[in-house]
Symmetry: C2
Subunit: 207 residues, 2 copies
DNA sequence: TGATAATACGAACGGTCGTGCTACTTTGTC
DNA sequence: GACAAAGTAGCACGACCGTTCGTATTATCA
């Protein structure tokens, strides 16, 4: 023994990726729980059982969809922000990339995580836990950005970093919510304005 | 014409109210769409068909539940805020009453409207429209509060009232979300702090 | 009091859900 | 080229969904 390790076929890997990609997008419209295996299968043109064979249960599909959405979010929002050349620039890029991710739109029903957590925050289980982890990680990322901008002398070190992160994320989520509710862009405009003004106030150059 | 108007019996009115009261509470946990007639009927100890007879369809039940939740929200948050004796006091009371409504808690799954809109914002139909109306009305109420505080000379008239309302509501919704996700009270503490600091900054006495 | 309509129930409808099971096809490895 | 593993489809299951219907009960008003 033994070359008997299980290997996954290339086409299977590809369909699995296609399923998960469609699942993340559909989940922002129908809900991560409301999404049904049958409709998802129809949507990508395969049979319910054929799709189902890639996952042991609906819950595993949901968990895998969260991983996929996390990767999509990283690519769209987090990674491109690393290119900015100052800590404050990276923080601002993070916020602006989030709005770009809403406007493109990457997901038809707005931010995947905002939609999924709102739906599952009262449903105990591993799916909820994974979403909470993601949300906490996102908030921690913003808070770290604030701290680095403080250490870099761009933001006032007297600002409460966790509170400032709370405020910035609140504006982003509110922008997402208004955009999904009204379709137009005014909600995102207000969110951008709120963030700009809040970061201006936290700038150390003010004194 | 015309004596053919439907009369409603007193006991029927009472059970109908009991159904709707339970429906609003259950809806914040299971979702307004995810709520099923059968589980709701079990929860209040009556038969599915007996319950169903009070409403022509599930959608009518949802619409009636929104009316009931609106009334509960008015009693818990809006009406008591009218007692404050200055416009700014009323605005602050509005925010504080909202946090009290979350802490009591009036609904087990957090704010009814935050939960319902997040679930149904991508489901077109009269239920969604009614929720959007409610949300817009709430934002307009806050904005009017800001305007009156500006006219009363308590808040800086140069502040963008709509934007300030956006920010205050963003903090409240974010506080609600964190509380439902983590159970503890730290999210509400941050929301309170954010609102206090934001209103301080908008005060006219600052100069 | 008797007539009448609102109320509540049990049973059942067709439909969809997640989930197994079986059989056939495709692919990758010796 | 044989053989095992993986992918896919078809089918059926039990459970639950919203909804309807027939019927027994009961509050209300003439």
């Amino acid at each position: 023994m033994s070359a008997t390790t299980r290997r996954r076929r290339a086409d299977g890997e590809q369909t699995r990726a296609a399923i998960l990609d469609a699942a993340t997008k559909l989940a922002t419209v129908e809900g991560l729980d409301g999404l049904s295996i049958g409709r998802l299968a129809d949507h990508i043109g395969m049979s319910k059982s054929g799709l189902y064979a890639h996952f042991g249960s609906k819950e595993e599909l949901q968990l895998a969809a969260i991983d996929t959405a996390t990767e999509i979010f990283r690519d769209a929002v987090i990674r491109p922000a690393r290119r900015a050349d100052t800590p404050l620039g990276r923080l601002e890029a993070l916020c602006e990339n989030f709005f770009g991710y809403l406007e493109r739109p990457v997901f038809p029903g707005g931010c995947f995580f905002a939609s999924a957590t709102a739906e599952l925050d009262t449903h105990p289980g591993p799916v909820r836990e994974k979403l909470v982890e993601s949300l906490d990680g996102w908030l921690a990322l913003i808070e770290r950005g604030v701290r680095e901008a403080q250490e870099g002398g761009e933001l006032d070190p007297l600002e409460d970093a966790a509170l400032l992160a709370f405020e910035l994320d609140a504006f982003m989520k509110m922008g997402n919510s208004l955009r999904v509710l009204h379709g137009d862009r005014s909600g995102l405009g207000q969110a951008r304005a709120a963030i700009r003004s809040r970061l201006d106030r936290a700038r150390v150059t003010k004194r």
